[in-house]
């Protein structure tokens, strides 16, 4: 905090010296539209919400979760307390600090409108913004950028970090993508000739345009450790997302995929996939925050998954596909330090189909609130274009300052 205050003082002083109006530096709560940033992190595979955000205060939790229950705060390996009812998994220490700094909202018992248990349909539906897995071939985040129209600058306003563009970002609005490379840059003359060659090819012409923009933006950047087996690509991608969005006139939106959450076996323990993933998520969020620099103040990071997992452990120390789960919104733009959950309970009669956490909040309410706050969209366009036929799902109140 000291550094930020110093920076503010320095800036204020210089501004005064130059006779610039003090408003040139907007207050944190009131950024100019071009300063707001939105990051979408998709945890593919179905994050176990009851492990990531244990409802340790629920009297049924310990019994119904058995060996997979995260102990209450204060016990060995216990949860990090949030509000005396919910805790965070002990591997989410950085996120717990963000919560304490009021830069993280934790949501529970959330789900998309999907009620089956296929990963792939569930992911499609969350990304395309409709209530059907193959409702359309474009993603809501892309449609939202189009709908923001004049409120965002022209050109590439969204980036996918990774080699491919996830469905949530596909569509008419121009989207860049970037991942580390170790190969030499192709020579400029070849690139000019290719530009001409692609001009008659709509698909490649667009890809080439955004590829060159991305390369220009990331010029001189070290490839990082991202391509080596021993290092951690998702953390590298989070860093790159922060660097791209943190630029003064950088794009507004970034999306990154983080797979491997389908924990059907051995969730518990130091070497489990779930433990590893939670730590990587924790580091990714912290890395993103650092890389964004000053832009963090105006950023919202949505962290969601396609569904939660069954309440009872399966026969292999893991969990099978479920329904409702947990989600997070991090960033300086959120009114953090709160858990938002209309908790349905874990008693036998409270469960969805007798096995899963019952959804009490539609993920689209969270997405809508983020688009209102970060891209300035109105409800009319949200409930028709961005999330078709979603009038009954209102933007979640009070999530953002």
């Amino acid at each position: 905090m000291t550094t930020r205050r110093k920076a503010l003082q320095l800036f204020g002083g210089t501004a005064a010296l130059l006779g610039l109006p003090g408003l040139a530096f907007a207050a944190p709560g009131n950024p100019r539209a071009g300063e707001r940033r939105l990051v979408f992190i998709f945890l593919r595979g179905g994050m176990d919400g009851l492990s990531a955000v244990p409802p340790y205060g629920d009297p049924e939790y310990a019994a119904r979760r058995g060996a997979l229950a995260v102990p209450s705060p204060g016990s060995a390996g216990g949860a990090l307390d949030l509000d005396s009812h919910f805790g965070l998994n002990p591997n989410l220490g950085e996120m717990h600090r963000l919560f304490a700094a009021r830069e993280l909202v934790v949501l529970h018992a959330v789900a998309s409108p999907y009620r089956e248990r296929s990963h792939f349909d569930a992911q499609n539906l969350i990304e395309n913004g409709t209530a059907r897995p193959f409702g359309r071939e474009v993603g809501w985040l892309n449609v939202a950028l189009g709908a923001a129209g004049g409120r965002v600058a022209a050109g590439t306003q969204a980036f996918a970090l990774g080699q491919s563009v996830p469905l949530v970002l596909r569509g008419p609005a121009q989207v860049g993508s970037w991942s580390p490379t170790r190969l030499p840059v192709p020579d400029a003359d070849l690139l000019e000739r290719l530009a001409a060659l692609y001009r008659g090819d709509a698909l490649l012409d667009r890809s080439f345009t955004v590829a060159r923009e991305a390369q220009a933006m990331m010029e001189g950047r070290d490839a990082g450790g991202g391509m080596d087996g021993a290092t951690l690509p998702v953390v590298e991608l989070a860093r790159a997302a922060g660097e791209i969005l943190g630029k003064p006139n950088g794009p507004h939106v970034a999306a990154l995929d983080f797979g491997g959450w389908d924990t059907h076996i051995s969730q518990q323990g130091e070497y489990s996939q779930l433990t590893r993933n939670l730590r990587l998520l924790d580091r990714s969020v912290a890395t993103l925050r650092t890389a964004l620099g000053a832009a963090w103040r105006h950023t919202a990071v949505l962290i969601v998954t396609e569904f939660g997992r069954a309440v009872a452990p399966n026969g292999s120390g893991g969990t099978d596909h479920g329904t409702a789960g947990a989600a997070f919104v991090a960033g300086g733009a959120v009114r953090g330090g709160r858990v938002i959950a209309d908790w349905p309970g874990l008693g036998p009669r409270a469960l969805h189909e007798g096995r899963d956490l019952r959804p009490t909040l539609d993920l689209r309410a969270l997405f809508k609130a983020a688009l209102v706050a970060q891209l300035g969209l109105g409800e009319a366009v949200l409930e028709t274009e961005v999330f078709p036929d979603s009038r009954t799902v209102r933007p979640l109140d009070g999530l953002f300052a």
């Binding site: 491919s164 070497y271 893991g318």
Partner: protein, 469 residues
């Protein structure tokens, strides 16, 4: 050369080798049909590779070596730090590199590229992924043992072979799915706290068989069917486990002690069989259901005709599947009979593996590239061989592969290949001898006007035509 021969060698095949377009030219459909008989000789590239039985022994050996690592107080500064991941890479990594090398070499030189493409197609349909460490050493043997023998046979046989293969059992956790009340006996693993013995069902494999391998997600099954099917295939497991240090005959095993006995009712049928026969009967039944025919036909048409498969083609292929009881050569013949398949050249964007292999086929000099370099290239392009991101396999539409970064990586690769082999290549002839009349005027002119052979080659490899099939 006719457009049909361009489609035959590029879309149905893996990209023209020198002379291949001419060879297919007279009778492209016949050229394809001759490649998909009941059997085919194995590629010499696969000669020395490990069987799944041998690969399964690599795990206990690795586990045994970990004891030495953890107790390794003698590790000194001059040896590299020995971590769990490090020893895994060291001991099992070579298996993967050999597998990838052999697979690329076989594809780069096969005279039956349609058959090889079908192998890839079915491997992707029945995805097992080395993303899961337990399966890492088995993915290559899966393709050789469960897929290749059945590409010219029946879908039901391939489904059974894939489901019983150790790679599939381990990838989708069926070795950990047991009847209620089962007690582990005499397994060393039972004492491990990190890997406690299973205590009940794990429905992962049962669900993915129904959703991905057979009926399809809208194929009319329920959660109750999934759970019941999971009970049917309890006991379908693998020996050794990771902790059996002296395995006898490793591989698939049906363990009756793990199996939930008794008749089961699912998908509207009661299955009275006992033991392994019950699961086999269910698989043979669902393998030939109309929903399976529709699901498979849609995927075949998407792969070989267009991202948005024409409904008439899907119907024709599904019909052939149903009428023949899933006889795959009959299915392929129906595909080749679809007029839609022969209309539009360049209808599909190549995936990274398709792209790199087509470069290797077009330019024999590229086949000599270091396997590590090819592996790193494909990884950078987002398609590390054998590492599909999920049980759904690699995506099969242009949207998934056409992003800016994906294109940029291809251009980088085209530049490198051109720098290495461009001085000896004749790009204009190469274009004519692989895409013939499907090469646009603009691309032809760009090749003519290039400032050097190298640049012309880079332009051709990065051209809109060569990136498609």
């Amino acid at each position: 050369m006719s457009i049909e021969s361009v489609i035959a060698v590029n879309r149905f095949g893996l990209g023209a080798t020198p002379g291949e377009l001419a060879a297919a030219g007279a009778d492209p459909r016949g050229w394809l049909a001759r490649q998909v008989g009941a059997t085919a000789p194995a590629s010499p590239a696969f000669g020395r590779l490990a069987t799944s039985g041998e690969a399964l022994k690599a795990y206990p050996r690795w586990i045994a070596s970990l004891g030495k690592v953890r107790g390794g107080a003698g590790d000194s500064a001059q040896t590299a730090p020995r971590t769990v991941e490090g020893t895994f890479r060291e001991q099992l990594g070579p298996i993967m590199l050999e597998e990838v090398t052999a697979r690329l070499a076989a594809a780069a030189s096969t005279p039956a590229p349609f058959r090889e493409r079908l192998v890839w197609f079915w491997s992707n349909h029945f995805t097992v992924s080395a993303e899961k460490a337990l399966v890492f050493a088995l993915v290559g043997s899966f393709e050789r043992e469960a897929i290749r023998p059945h590409v010219g046979g029946y879908f039901a046989d391939m489904l059974l072979a894939a489901t019983r293969h150790p790679a599939m059992i381990l990838y989708l956790d069926n070795h950990l799915s047991v009847r209620k009340g089962w007690q582990a006996q005499g397994l060393r693993g039972s004492r491990s706290t990190a890997f406690p013995p299973p205590t009940g069902l794990n429905e992962n494999l049962a669900r993915e068989i129904l959703e991905l391998h057979t009926l399809g997600v809208n194929g009319g099954y329920t959660q109750a069917d999934v759970t019941e099917f999971a009970r049917v295939i309890t006991g379908w497991t693998v020996r050794p486990t990771m902790f059996d240090l002296e395995p006898a005959s490793p591989g698939f095993v049906f363990d009756p002690t793990r199996h939930e006995p008794g008749p089961r009712t699912l998908l509207g049928v009661t299955w009275p069989q006992e033991g392994v026969g019950q699961g086999e009967a269910v698989l043979r039944d669902i393998a030939v259901r109309p929903a399976t025919a529709q699901h498979v036909a849609t995927k075949v048409a998407r792969h070989f005709i267009a991202d948005e498969p024409p409904p008439a083609a899907v119907a024709r292929i599904a019909h052939a599947f149903r009428d023949s009881g899933g006889h795959l050569p009959t299915v392929y013949a129906a595909l080749l009979d679809c007029p839609e398949a022969w209309k539009q050249p360049l209808a599909k964007l190549k995936t990274p593996v398709e792209y790199v292999v087509s470069c290797m086929r077009a330019l024999p000099a590229v086949r000599a590239a270091q396997p590590q370099a090819l592996y790193a290239t494909l990884r950078g392009m987002g398609q590390r061989p054998f590492f599909a991101p999920s049980p759904q396999g690699w995506p099969d539409t242009a949207q998934a592969w056409a992003g800016g970064d994906a294109l940029w990586k291809r251009i980088e690769w085209a530049g490198i290949v051109a720098a290495r082999v461009g001085s000896t290549a004749d790009p204009q002839r190469l274009a004519a001898a692989s895409y013939g009349a499907a090469t646009s005027e603009g691309t032809r002119r760009a090749l003519e006007r290039a400032e050097s052979r190298e640049q012309a080659l880079a332009l051709w490899l990065a051209s809109p035509e060569f990136q498609r099939r």
